[in-house]
């Protein structure tokens, strides 16, 4: 069978208990603001360290990237010369030295061809396709 206390004392006791719980809750709520303060101090230090390291990483990355770009530009960039520039080097003394170990062949000349006469011919006939 269900037992239901119906006397007043029991009822009052019940109200007291409720009040006590409410007070506890209030105390807990009152202590809460300390947490964010502590957390804030800790976080500020941590983020400061983090941001410094991120900046240093970025710097390192930037310098590495720049270095790589410079190296890439050296290796990837095409070495191109105009026809006039190449023709200009034809008359330099280095170009007249006979290469070593040329095969013994009728197409090999004993002396270098003079490009001056040839160059004049080329200029003269440059647009003459007949």
């Amino acid at each position: 069978k269900w037992y239901v206390p119906m006397n007043l004392s029991t009822y009052l006791n019940f109200i007291d208990i409720r009040m006590e719980v409410a007070r506890r809750r209030m105390i807990q709520k009152h202590l809460q603001p300390t947490r964010p303060l502590r957390r804030c101090t800790y976080n500020s230090k941590h983020t400061a360290v983090k941001s410094e390291s991120i900046i240093s990483y970025c710097r390192t990355f930037y310098f590495c990237l720049t270095g790589i770009c410079v190296l890439m530009s050296v290796f990837i960039a095409k070495i191109s010369y105009s026809r006039e520039f190449l023709m200009g080097l034809a008359s330099c003394p280095e170009a007249k030295i006979k290469p070593l170990f040329l095969p013994d062949n009728p197409i090999i000349l004993s002396e270098a061809v003079s490009f001056l006469f040839y160059f004049i011919l080329v200029v003269f006939f440059s647009n003459n396709w007949g």
Partner: protein, 237 residues
Amino acid sequence: MRYAFNESLKDDDSGDHDQDQSSPKDSETIKIEDDEKEQNTTKKKMVVPGAGEHPLQYNYTFWYSRRTPGRPASTQSYEQNIKQIGSFASVEQFWRFYSHMIRPGDLTGHSDFHLFKEGIKPMWEDDANKMGGKWIIRLRKGLASRCWENLILAMLGEQFMVGEEICGAVVSVRFQEDIISIWNKTASDQGTTARIRDTLRRVLNLPPNTIMEYKTHTDSIKYVCLLSLLFSLHLLL
């Protein structure tokens, strides 16, 4: 019949058409192996630009080949005929070779000059060439030297602007005409071939009505195979 066959051989283009697709004889094989060894040892010795010289984007090798026109192509190996002259890595080194070689216009008979990137043989079967093709320009006699020089200067000076597509250039001296051609790696790349054609027109200062022909190496191989077959049949009959 024989005359017609020989004529058809002569009329083909760019000096590489007489590559023999049949296997060489045993005595020839030994010689070829020796040649390959020689070429391999040459390959290992990579040329470098000298101090103060102007480096080129790639190292190049000059080759020369000559075939007796009267003799049928099947008795000679193309690889046996082709001789390596030398490799260079700078502008100065190039002129050293070039100024000590006779001009294509002064060549006699069925001769070819090849200038290819170092490591690429001027053969269809080379890995760099097998998927490629070439632009061919037929020239009347007397123009080969100038056109050849303009062509190779454009190639060495990287005027084609097609990345690593260019393999090399050939000038072929024939009986009635001379042929110059430029080989590239990818025949199916129409953008690249079009750019090569346009640059070729510009650097050679070709008139607008000049006929330029593009030929894939696979087509060239098929053509030679067909000729070899016809020649074999002709000998049998």
